[in-house]
């Protein structure tokens, strides 16, 4: 295999690995939007808090990493419930712009609060995970781990949505919220469960991202916009569309970064997004209505 081919292969693999994590991020946001019809603009800030949770539990207090991860996932899940109860639920009847502004307010609140509490320094777990070498191709163990865990997380959510009554109700409420009471479904309960799952997914994402990135109060800005754009590209609320869009985005970033500079990957990805908004404004997998 030529040297270019190996780099290409490496970039493709890294694209897939990144795609898995982006897909996890977009699933959480999509789930919330699809079910509650609200965009958690502050989604990435929940991830930021989760990353701090991991930093303190595992990095500072030296708790076992699996235990820290479990606490972090449950903790951010509870934050999701809290966010719903305190901010979303009172605004459910308000115009969408108010809900957007309110969750946008939460974004800045969390950023500022994190700055006050934790300072602006970049922090990390101090963990150095090995790099695997498989027939000439280098693969980061942290990325592989993140990909694997993201896939497991998504499979669990998929099984929950397709195999349980509550999961069926979550899918159904995204399609017709008014008649759910006729099925005997208490929508408020479904909203709370969905918020908990959305939060828990942010918590899981935090555990995986903290392995690769330093945490600081503004780290959410690195993930928030891209997650939101992926959801829009896939069609907001469309789980499958978001999944595919995540991999498309990740490959553009990864391959763009191979042939040009790393930052160019993002430039191409966002340019692609803008073009797609002209070509397919309803998303990659536009719903037939």
């Amino acid at each position: 295999m030529g040297i270019v081919d190996i780099f290409l292969l490496e970039a493709l693999i890294n694209g897939v690995l990144l795609g898995g994590v982006l897909a996890l991020l977009s699933l959480g946001l999509n789930l919330i939007f699809g079910v509650i019809d609200v965009v958690w603009i502050c989604y990435a800030e929940l991830i930021m808090l989760g990353m701090y949770g991991m930093y303190f539990l595992s990095g500072v207090y030296q708790a076992p990493i699996v235990l820290s991860a479990a606490v972090c996932i449950i903790g951010v899940g509870l934050l999701g419930v809290l966010l719903h109860l305190l901010v979303i639920a009172p605004l459910l009847g308000s115009p969408p712009i108010n809900q957007l502004l309110a969750t946008g307010g939460v974004l800045f609140f969390l950023q500022s609060a994190a700055t006050v509490l934790f300072g602006v320094e970049f922090k990390n777990l101090g963990l150095r995970l090995p790099v695997l070498k498989v027939s000439g191709v280098f693969i980061s163990y942290a990325r592989l781990l993140a990909f694997g865990a993201a896939v497991i997380g998504m499979v669990l959510v998929y099984l929950f949505l397709t195999r349980t009554y509550t999961g069926a109700a979550i899918r159904a409420i995204a399609q017709d919220r008014q008649i759910m009471t006729l099925m005997g479904v208490d929508s408020r309960r479904i909203y709370l469960i969905t918020s908990a799952i959305g939060g828990a997914l942010a918590g899981l994402a935090a555990c995986l991202l903290v392995l690769q990135y330093d945490v600081h109060p503004f780290v959410g800005l690195s993930f928030g916009p891209i997650t939101f754009l992926i959801c829009v590209l896939g069609g907001l609320g469309n789980f499958v569309g978001g999944f595919i869009a995540a991999f498309v985005f990740a490959e553009i970033i990864s391959l763009g970064g191979l042939y040009f500079d790393l930052e160019w990957g993002y430039v191409f990805a966002f340019a692609f997004f803008i073009v797609m908004m002209f070509v397919r404004p309803q998303g990659l997998l536009a719903r037939r209505s």
């Binding site: 899918r171 159904a172 399609q175 008649i179 006729l182």
Partner: protein, 234 residues
């Protein structure tokens, strides 16, 4: 079985029902007929809890429905087939039926109820994996009725089941309703299709501009002058 007394209801500032009283007995099939905008759909919604009455009482077998949370009314034994069917279009037929049997009491009986619905509507068995939104209007109506039957209701509310269906399909639908009734189910049905519905029900009420204007045995209403007046708007 079901008794409404002086029920008033509406949407926002608009009042759609004025002092509506009606009764449905065990095993009866009762029709509510009336022109467009008479408040028929509102009447169905107020019974199943989709909207709450502003005054009056609704009692089902001794249970005060006005005091029952909307999502618990199906547990009292009322299943509502809403206007326009309102299936979950991107879910399979079987998942739609599963949602109909969502209440805890219905879950252990899922297989048994599913079998019953499939026997009633063999077409649904053939299409059980198909997305509900991709079926024909008649099939969707069967699915909507099947979904309502999954909760093992005592009272079935049908809102305009024939709307938007071809005449042949409507014919089949009313034949099926007779079979459902034969199973001992009580039915309250709202229809624009007066001739057809009066052949299926025992009694009927005429609703016009939010008030009950006439009531009586179906046979008597068929030729009644009040009915003709109501539809001609005289």
């Amino acid at each position: 079985m079901l008794e409404l007394k002086s029920v008033r209801a509406g949407y926002g500032g608009f009042q759609a029902l004025f002092d509506v009283s009606l009764e449905v007995g065990h095993g009866e099939a009762v029709g509510v007929i009336g022109p467009n905008g008479a408040g028929k759909t509102t009447l169905m919604r107020v019974i199943s809890g989709l909207i709450r009455p502003t005054s009056g009482s609704i009692v089902m077998e001794g249970v005060d429905l006005v005091a029952t949370p909307s999502h618990r009314i199906v547990e009292v034994g009322i299943a509502h087939v809403p206007e326009g069917r309102r299936l979950f279009p991107r879910m399979s037929v079987e998942d739609n039926l599963r949602m109909g049997g969502f209440v805890p009491a219905a879950r252990p009986k899922f297989r048994q109820r599913l079998e019953l619905v499939y026997e009633l509507f063999p077409r649904l068995r053939e299409r059980c994996r198909q997305l509900a939104g991709s079926m024909s209007g008649g099939e969707q109506q069967m699915c909507a009725i099947g979904r309502a039957l999954m909760s093992e209701p005592k009272l079935l509310l049908l809102d305009e089941p024939s709307a938007g269906l071809a005449p042949v399909i409507v014919e089949q639908l009313f034949e099926l309703l007779k079979r459902i009734r034969a199973g001992g189910l009580t039915v309250l049905i709202v229809e624009q299709n007066v001739q057809q519905v009066l052949r299926v029900v025992d009694r009927a009420y005429l609703l016009k501009a939010g008030r009950i204007r006439a009531a009586g045995p179906a046979a008597g209403l068929l030729g009644s002058a009040t009915i003709r007046e109501a539809y001609l708007g005289a």
